[in-house]
């Protein structure tokens, strides 16, 4: 199949997650319904109502020129290495692309900021990652410096929608001719400040995450990184790169409603979904799978379900929806990128990951949830939803390189 004009393809993926490090380990765990949320060990939770999160256990971390890195920086570097290797660009990036035409775009919510918590607690000792935790560009710069990437370099700071924002923005930069390839993704580390905030809001689930369940009690915070290598289709074809799929559409329209609560009618979500589908040139009924934001909070899941029903209409009865946050927890600015990888691997294997812990579907969530076990299905068009505080919404459409219909 000939490459299309402005075709942007994904040629490599990498993941660091609470259920597995490496895209295949992550994917095998997700498809088998493995939960990565456990008792937190990174900080003392005895003063809080809840004690569990999606922690990347046993992480050794990395250093940069002898300096220790924050966990999010380290996750980002590791996942990028995996993605570039998977794309066949490590080694060999310089022979495939002009490094000045290869950029980096990452999303984060708090990102490396939690590294200031240690000196703030101890009232001193600003050493190691704390010294640079006020600089949000650390992640994109470290990734670029590690691989000599001199193309566009920026961070998307759109709260929990940031991972998807990075994927969408990276695609837009290639489409606009500003880059030939982009390393895009999201990285996040567990933040006690945000744990404190969500505890204060009573928004954290104590035992398990149950997206779209009638009795869902909230989200669980998590950490990790997801990275995708995006390339201009004709350049990927010229170097005979393996292709996971296309990034075909992106919508980032806000709720403009409230700093914490989503619009109850899902207006911004629905508009973002429609914008992404329109850019991709596909109809809502063409969707084969929706990877939901599905945090497990009462308000978010309800708003997302309303929006899906509004956009898909009767097709919402047929299009499977699942949230892998039921297993991973919510890794905030990394979530959209990790879930983007899940979308691509789902298309590759024809396997929809399960929405775990769904005991009784909330009757207000009138969607077809792929509950508790994976669902085999050939997929050509999938939609990834990510939303965040302040009404940030980012929706990305992936399509198969070789459509079946």
């Amino acid at each position: 199949m000939a490459a299309q004009p402005h075709e942007i393809v994904v040629t490599g993926v990498g993941v660091v997650s609470p259920v597995g490090v490496g895209a295949e380990a992550f994917w095998n765990a997700v498809v088998s319904g493995t939960a990565g949320t456990h008792e937190l060990t990174l900080f003392d939770t005895s003063g809080y109502h809840t004690h569990r999160a999606g922690e990347v256990k046993g992480w050794e971390g990395e250093t940069d020129r002898g300096e220790s890195l924050s966990r999010s920086e380290s996750f980002a570097l590791a996942a990028t290495g995996m993605a570039l290797h998977d794309a066949g660009l490590l080694p060999g990036l310089e022979s495939a692309h002009d490094p000045k035409r290869v950029g980096v775009c990452f999303g984060m919510a708090a990102g490396n900021r939690p590294a200031i918590e240690r000196p703030l607690r101890s009232r001193g000792g600003w050493s190691g990652p704390a010294r640079t935790a006020h600089d949000p560009t650390r992640i994109s710069r470290l990734v670029a410096r590690a691989h000599g990437l001199d193309g566009p370099n920026l961070m998307m700071l759109t709260a929990c929608a940031a991972g998807n924002s990075a994927v969408g923005h990276g695609m837009e930069l290639i489409r606009a001719g500003r880059a030939d390839a982009m390393v895009v993704g999201g990285a996040e580390e567990l933040s006690e400040t945000l744990f404190m905030m969500f505890n204060r809001f009573r928004a954290l689930a104590p035992e398990r995450v149950q997206p779209f369940d009638r009795d869902r009690r909230g989200l669980m915070l998590a950490e990790g990184a997801g990275v995708l290598v995006l390339e201009s289709g004709h350049l990927a074809k010229a170097r005979r790169a393996g292709v996971y799929g296309r990034v075909a559409g992106y919508g980032n329209l806000p709720d403009a409603h409230d700093m914490t609560a989503p619009h109850p009618g899902g207006h911004g979500i629905a508009r973002s979904m429609r914008a992404a589908l329109a850019m991709a040139g596909v109809e809502p009924a063409d969707l084969d799978y929706i990877c939901a934001h599905g945090t497990g909070t009462p308000t978010n899941d309800a708003a997302e379900a309303v929006a899906i029903r509004e956009v898909l209409g009767p097709a919402a009865d047929d299009v499977p929806v699942s949230s892998i946050k039921s297993m991973l927890g919510h890794s905030l600015g990394a979530a959209g990128a990790i879930e983007s990888v899940a979308c691509l691997l789902a298309m590759r294997d024809g396997m929809i990951p399960p929405n775990m812990h769904l005991d009784n579907q909330d009757p207000r969530c009138e969607i077809r949830v792929a509950a508790n076990r994976p669902l085999a299905r050939r997929m050509d068009v999938v939609l990834n939803n990510s939303f965040g505080f302040g009404g940030n919404n980012s929706c990305v459409v992936f399509t198969a390189r070789e459509p079946s219909r």
Binding site: L120, R121, R200, N252, P254, T260, G388, G390
Partner: protein
């Protein structure tokens, strides 16, 4: 890049309220400043900074719904309301009401520090008081996205929405993206674009961990032989960008964003930074279909930093030689971090309107070790048609925005 025009601009800087204030005076605006500490911490006093004036909140903002805003959000909203009023866009007196129909007015902001202080206070108050006594309003204000989200909520801006960071070039990235969105296929009816960065207790504490001289230098001297460092600044600058094809009644074009370029180097050296700055300029010129010889003046980002000023001078000389006049007002308004490019664009618009360039405030003796660029010494009238802003950031980022007089 499609054509985008600026139809309104609100600028809050240490020079005052409004872009015209950026053209006036040449004296450094540094004043020693104190910051209220986080619980359990020592105050920080005597920080030399170029600070915002008192915001005209009562005259600009709706009475309801603004008290809970973050400091950055309140400053950004003041700037946005000024910009909307100038552009003739309706400003809701009570929140929220959509600014325009589909695809809507969007928000693109650059920042490096947004909500850092809220994040630190949320944590330290939680540690000091216990998690249950943390004021719940702090939580939503603790994210980088807070100012942009507060703008969209308060103004009913439902178009494309993003907060970006590329260091001191952040606002340049935001403006370039916004110009693309309004200029290409009408992805947005209009965009509120710019940058917001304020100084805070935590920002000073954190900056001093890497740069102990932060806020200790009373006079910043851009491009000067005796420069020793920059003056911390703060700003909120928002502009209304619309497609040039727009013929909205009441819309007056202040300036056209003729071209925009951003670039980055992964090389941690001067040569790499000069190259990135040159690439950003080249991209802006290419987008405008303009030649370097057509640029009438450059608004530089030089703030008195020995290294960054040198990088910028070398890039400007490489691209333009000693021809166009170059000025910087960062000696007066300070280094405004992620809002820096937006401040420069505001000055460029003011310069195009007034056909005048300001003095390079704080410059006494041009550094003879720098390339021989043509630095402005005093405010002077000049014929200006194309003005370039160049922002060189410390981490390898650069942004260039080329502005032209309205056609």
């Amino acid at each position: 890049m499609g054509r985008a025009v600026i139809t309104g601009l609100g600028a809050l800087t240490a020079a005052g309220i409004g872009r015209a204030r950026l053209l006036e005076g040449d004296e450094p605006a540094a004043r020693p400043r104190s910051f209220a500490p986080c619980p359990g911490f020592e105050p920080v006093d005597g920080v030399y900074a170029a600070s915002l004036p008192t915001l005209p909140v009562e005259t600009l903002l709706p009475a309801r719904g603004t008290r809970a805003l973050s400091d950055e959000g309140r400053a950004g909203l003041c700037a946005a309301v000024l910009a909307c009023r100038e552009a003739g866009l309706p400003v809701p007196t009570e929140r929220p009401r959509p600014l325009a129909g589909e695809p809507g007015t969007g928000v693109a902001l650059g920042t490096t520090r947004a909500s850092l202080d809220e994040y630190a206070r949320l944590f330290t108050e939680g540690v000091a008081l216990g998690p249950e006594l943390v004021p719940p309003a702090r939580g939503p204000r603790a994210g980088y996205n807070t100012p942009a989200s507060e703008l969209s909520i308060m103004l009913g801006a439902t178009g494309p929405h993003l907060t970006v960071c590329s260091g001191a070039a952040s606002a340049g990235e935001a403006i370039a993206t916004a110009a693309h969105l309004v200029g290409q296929g009408g992805r947005a009816t209009a965009m509120l674009a710019g940058g917001i960065d304020l100084l805070s207790y935590t920002a000073v504490l954190a900056e001093r961990m890497l740069h102990p001289e932060f806020g200790t230098i009373p006079e910043a001297r851009p491009f000067d032989r005796d420069r020793t460092g920059g003056l911390p600044g703060e700003a909120a600058v928002i502009m209304v960008l619309e497609g040039s094809a727009s013929s909205r009644p009441g819309a007056a074009c202040l300036a056209e964003v003729a071209g925009a370029g951003t670039a980055f180097t992964s090389a941690d050296n001067d040569a790499g930074s000069v190259d990135a700055a040159c690439r950003a300029i080249a991209e802006a010129l290419l987008g405008a279909g303009a030649d370097a010889a057509e640029v009438d003046a450059v608004i530089a980002s030089a703030s008195g930093s020995p290294g960054r000023d040198r990088t910028e001078a070398e890039a400007l000389y490489a691209m333009f030689g000693d021809r166009p006049p170059v000025c910087s007002v960062n000696g007066r308004v300070g280094d405004c971090a992620g809002a820096g490019t937006a401040v420069q664009v505001a000055l460029a618009v003011a310069a195009l309107e007034a056909q005048r360039l300001p003095a390079t405030g704080g410059l006494r003796v041009a550094d003879p070790a720098l390339p021989d660029i043509r630095l402005t010494r005093a405010e002077a009238a000049r014929p200006l048609r194309l003005v370039l802003t160049l922002t060189v950031a410390g981490g390898g980022h650069a942004a260039a925005i080329l502005l032209s007089r309205p056609r």
